[in-house]
């Protein structure tokens, strides 16, 4: 490659530095996993030792599932994530199609207002939202969190999708219209397939964001039965006296879904972030 350093020693040096960095990023996960397989005394004696292979403490995981009911928490979180993504995509795709390809009065003003609401942090709006939801009995339902997420993420979604949809040639849409394609046909056969990169990025990115989020569900879901996994973990680990190895098992399980999605789709995410579309 031109423009890049060529020396062999330099390359090896760079490789070593990057490898050290990679270890510093992966070690915490390894630390959690290894210690989740110990019992409490072993962990307290030496947190850096390998677990005793003859008596791995799988019981930590069994308790997580049977008593902490982490699978139920997974279900709650998954429902919220899926509903959020579904409505983000439906509302986002039609609105972005309108902003990128249709002409109507007030389009620029509406677009500006929607995008400018992007920067308002959720902490500013959460108390009025909580009071509104408690009035209409939405607190402690999945919908309270889903609707709040829609408010938080719709403008970002529209910003990203509108930019992508603008790149779709008008000629293709016009050709489809000449063939008699209606509004939904155009969305289905032109916009969605051609805007796929943005749509896939939204699905992956907002799955990870909603899976990991604490603030919104912590405020809106106080009921034990509707809590998300991060809310439940936060309350579990707030008890200093708790058994750390048991808590490690929970942390490790809770980290898996987002990491799994990242491992499968990391190309899309790295590309999307690199183009400066999300934070």
């Amino acid at each position: 490659m031109s423009g890049k350093t060529k020396g062999r020693t330099t390359k090896i040096l760079i490789f070593i530095v990057l490898a050290i960095l990679a270890i510093s990023n992966l070690y915490p996960l390894l630390f959690v996993f290894l210690n989740s397989l110990k019992n409490r005394p072993d962990y307290l004696t030496n947190p850096f030792s390998l677990p005793n292979l003859n008596q791995l403490a799988w019981g930590n995981y069994a308790t997580m599932i049977s008593q902490f009911q982490i699978l139920k928490l997974f279900k709650n979180t998954l429902i919220i994530s899926v509903l959020t993504i579904f409505f983000l995509l439906t509302f986002g795709i039609v609105a972005s199609y309108a902003f990128s390809k249709l002409k109507f009065i007030g389009k620029e003003v509406i677009y500006f207002l929607i995008i400018s609401s992007m920067f308002v942090p959720v902490q500013v709006t959460i108390i009025p939202i909580y009071m509104l939801f408690s009035k209409i009995h939405l607190v402690n339902t999945y919908w309270s969190v889903v609707i709040t997420y829609l408010g938080m993420f719709l403008s970002e979604t529209i910003l990203l999708m509108t930019a992508t949809f603008r790149g779709i040639p008008d000629a293709i849409i016009e050709a489809a219209e000449l063939d008699g394609a209606g509004y939904f046909d155009i969305l289905r056969y032109v916009i969605v397939p051609m805007g796929r990169p943005a749509i896939v990025l939204c699905i992956i990115y907002y799955f990870i964001v909603t899976w990991n989020d604490l603030f919104t569900p912590l405020i809106l879901l106080t009921d034990m039965d509707s809590r998300t996994v991060m809310v439940a973990l936060a309350s579990l680990i707030s008890r200093y006296s708790g058994d750390p190895t048991f808590q490690f098992a929970g942390l490790f399980l809770a980290a898996i879904p987002a990491i799994l999605v990242y491992v499968i789709f990391q190309k899309y995410i790295i590309k999307g972030i690199g183009e400066g579309s999300t934070r």
């Binding site: 031109s2 959690v32 942090p121 408010g151 790295i270």
Partner: protein
Amino acid sequence: MKAVVKTNFRRKKAIQGILSVIPTIIVLLFIRFYPIGEAIYRSFTNWNGLYQNDWVGFQNYIDIFTNSPFWTLLRNSFVLLISVPLQIFIGLLVAVLLYEEVAGWKFFRAIVYVPQIISAVIIGYLFRIAFGLDGPINLVLRKIGLGIMSIEWLGNSASALFVLVFCLTWFSIGWQAIIILGGMTRISPSILESANLDGANFWQRTFLVIVPIILRTIEYGAIMSIVWTFTGTFAFIYSITYGGPGYETSTIDYMIYTKFYQASANYGFATGLAVILLIIILILTFAEMKFTNRVSDWE
């Protein structure tokens, strides 16, 4: 005849356009604009969420500025901002190293971003454990004869803030690196090649050749990270220090949560804090827009 068809067609498209944005408008009106207005209005009342709701003028703001830990909260946010130059500096170095495309660089690029994928609840808890009185960090310090440094990290404000800055930096390096690497794809290889021929060393190449070209990207990363430090650190603070000791590691956004859950909830006070946070974010956002305009003037 043809003209009529065309007008009808246009009108149909316009109606489609308006109908398409209505769902979004409704959501944002109820979940963004109404709550913002409500927060501003309630910040001038002594609202407690129930019956009490009298107009008190600027009393909440006077209370915030004179009779509350507000200045501690602001100080804490500014201390946490130390993380921004750190993460940009390290992120830049990482991006430059990744740019060399040594063996396995795509794997390293994927790993660099991993902290961003792990929930702040998990990362925060690990940092709290790591810096606990008998936690791994202190164990290591005692082992290598630095027992005098094995303090109660989260027990006093300076070292607790240090732990938070460390954590936020570790969390954000990957994000900065990927953003900067994205910006670097716009650098033409011939520029770096001529820098090499001129005998520029690694630091000269990085700070005299690469940085000026990707300044816009770095500015973007800096502003986004500053905004994020004011609004996105709740879960880290919650899981590492609970804002304590006292209010020594609380920030404005964390305080809104604390006030929300206090027994004698004063939502007027809490919404006043929310409005101040909103104003800070608006100023930062305008600064970002100004930067953007200035740079596009240059180009």
